[in-house]
């Protein structure tokens, strides 16, 4: 018998955490191809160190559905053999994982010193004006997401804009406007890529 009045546990009004919970998402499993890729990758690490494959596993999930939901993180946890909390711990640390939907094309403008010295702030302003969204936002059609990122390791080709995984270098405001139009018209075919990359052709 207890003399305590009945207590409500974890009522929502006491929940003060500002932490945003991941979107639940529908049931998630890897496609057979991704499962095969994961199974091959995990062999690179000692058998008792499956957790080393976690970033790879998360990239696979993100590429499969565009961003990471709670269901996707649970699936990764199962693959790795760790808890879902451990997966979320990793996801929340690294900047290249998205927990919300992003546009088909993610424009990452480098904003660090060497790029800024060569006009990166003006490039960002041009993109804000052209796309009508601020850094961190996605346009209503879900085509473009604009992000400001830190040094991409290509400061000699400043300013640099990384579109998804492809680099675009030595851009000025006029050129980014042209690039956005070209992506609108031709999609991925408009990507120009890293200049070193092209020399090998």
């Amino acid at each position: 018998m207890s003399f305590h009045p009945p207590m409500e546990y974890a009522p929502t009004r006491f929940h003060k955490s500002e932490r945003e919970l991941a979107e639940p998402g529908g049931g998630f499993t890897y496609t057979p191809e991704n499962q095969a890729k994961f199974d091959a990758n995990v062999k690179r690490y000692p058998a008792d160190q499956r957790k080393s494959a976690i970033l790879y596993a998360l990239y696979l999930a993100q590429n499969q559905q565009g961003y990471l939901t709670a269901a996707a993180m649970r699936h990764v946890a199962q693959q790795i053999g760790c808890t879902a909390a451990e997966v979320e711990d990793v996801v929340s640390y690294y900047t290249m994982f998205f927990t919300k939907p992003v546009g088909t094309y993610v424009l990452n403008v480098c904003r660090t010193l060497s790029c800024a010295l060569r006009g990166a702030e003006r490039v960002t302003e041009e993109l804000i004006a052209t796309l009508g969204i601020k850094p961190g936002e996605t346009d209503p059609t879900g085509t473009f997401t604009l992000l400001e990122v830190e040094c991409l390791g290509a400061c000699d080709r400043a300013p640099v804009v990384m579109v998804n995984d492809d680099w675009h270098e030595r851009l000025d405001p006029d050129q980014v406007r042209v690039l956005v139009d070209a992506i609108r018209a031709r999609g991925r075919a408009a990507f120009s890529g890293c200049h070193l990359h092209k020399e090998k052709m």
């Binding site: 690294y94 900047t95 290249m96 660090t112 400061c155 000699d156 990359h197």
Partner: protein, 435 residues
């Protein structure tokens, strides 16, 4: 005497990245073949005799680092190649991996042999996706040609090289944070000791080496330590890559000896100042090191000379600043970086970087008070030396260095209530892009 490049001689050639090209023009894998004929300890001795110093930032002698790697243990040993390349102003490893990947692969194999490791992981930053594709394809070719895998070149030595992709974190470049990240955790530094040489990856003895460092190893084995010592000043031997960015006509990666001066890099290799404007200051070793002034232009770019001049060679990322650069803005720009990249483990760094950025943003917006200057140095000095890794010192340096050399600009911001040097290349509406 003209300098003969050995790391990047062929990077402009269309097929420089292929195995065939490497074998034909760069005496490819001869270093590995030669290494396998001597004892692993002899390789370590050669690298020690060459005086090779780490190219990742700290300039620590590589041979000594390898010697510390624990031998009396049943555990496996590992090489971790640091290809995180995230120090602002640094972009040299990218060129090596993309245009001369076999030099790195050979370097990894010889280093594994030297320390008794069977596996090397190349930890590459997530943004280098296109570089990774090339590197992995070339690794595959090296396996097929028998330079990697079981019984390398019939010498009874097994060696695997794997690329591990990061996912966006500057701190993953710090060696223990890199190991944590490789183990599938947040990239946060460990408490040292134990050092990676005794308990690194999976708590096994590990050597963490930069890409450029490992690329020098085949050259040392092939050409001998004397050749290496002969290039550059005493204790600063060997070929070196310099990354020149900012206000110069031809930004780029330039290979030279460490006899070269800052003046030769800026006005020679990089073609001089952009629009022929006057030079205001230089950051010689990536964003984390103190600034140098134009009267120091004749300093040779060696670890020791730059240190004597009051800065550090760091990652050899030379950022050139002309007279349009506001130093308060510069400190704000860099603290935005450090605030964003602080891993959050040590309180002085996590909280301090945020406050430094806020104070600098307020000054730059013209709302600073004169007390803020003392506050800036107070906060900076409470970060320096009070963190687990060198990130804290790196973050406070741009603030302390600009305040020391350009205090007048800080005072002018307070006095006039505005930025006193708004350059044409900066944002027209600073608030839109400030955060």
């Amino acid at each position: 005497m003209a300098y003969e490049p050995s790391l990047t001689k062929y990077v402009g050639e269309p097929n420089s990245y292929t195995l065939d090209f490497y074998l034909k023009h760069q005496r490819g894998y001869e270093g590995l073949r030669k290494a396998l004929t001597v004892k692993p300890d002899d390789i370590i001795e050669q690298v020690k005799a060459s005086g090779l110093r780490g190219r990742g930032g700290a300039g620590f002698p590589t041979g000594m680092k390898w010697q510390f790697v624990l031998k009396e243990t049943p555990k496996p040993r590992y090489i971790c190649c640091n290809a995180d390349e995230s120090e602002p102003g640094t972009f040299k490893d990218h060129v090596l991996m993309e245009r001369n990947p076999h030099l790195l692969i050979e370097g990894c194999a010889i280093s594994c042999y030297a320390i008794g490791a069977k596996v090397a992981y190349i930890y590459i930053r997530g943004e280098f996706h296109h570089v990774q594709e090339i590197l992995e394809a070339e690794i595959e070719k090296a396996y097929r040609a028998g330079y990697l895998g079981r019984n390398v070149l019939g010498g009874g030595f097994d060696c695997d090289v794997y690329v591990h992709r990061g996912a966006g974190a500057y701190e993953a470049g710090e060696e223990t944070a890199l190991i944590e990240s490789l183990e599938g955790k947040r990239a946060q530094p460990r408490i040292k000791p134990p050092f990676p040489a005794s308990a690194g990856l999976y708590q096994c003895p590990t050597a963490v080496n930069n890409v450029e460092t490992l690329c020098n190893v085949p050259l040392i084995v092939l050409n001998g330590p004397e050749w290496f010592v002969g290039i550059g000043p005493e204790k600063n031997g060997g070929p070196k890559l310099f990354c020149v960015s900012g206000h110069v006509k031809k930004p780029g990666v330039y290979e030279a000896s460490m006899h070269t001066t800052l003046r030769e890099l800026i006005y020679g290799h990089a073609g001089g100042m952009l629009d022929d404007r006057p030079l205001k200051a230089m950051i010689p070793g990536g964003s984390s090191v103190p600034l140098l002034l134009p009267d120091q232009l004749d300093t040779p770019v060696s670890f020791d000379h730059i240190q004597k001049a009051g800065s550090l060679l760091g990652s050899a990322g030379l950022i050139v600043l002309d007279d349009t650069v506001c130093m308060v803005w510069l400190a704000m720009n860099l603290l935005h970086f450090y605030r964003h990249e602080s891993c959050g483990k040590c309180t002085p760094c996590r909280e301090g970087c945020d406050w430094l950025f806020k104070l600098l943003a307020r000054l730059e917006a013209g709302e600073g008070r004169s007390k803020d200057l003392d506050l800036l140095s107070g906060v900076s000095n409470n970060i320096i030396g009070k963190t687990l890794c060198a990130f804290g010192d790196a973050a406070a340096t741009p603030v302390l260095s600009t305040m020391k050399l350009f205090r007048g600009e800080y005072e002018a911001h307070v006095r006039e209530g505005r930025c006193t040097l708004p350059a044409g290349w900066r944002a027209t509406h600073p608030t839109l892009v400030a955060h």
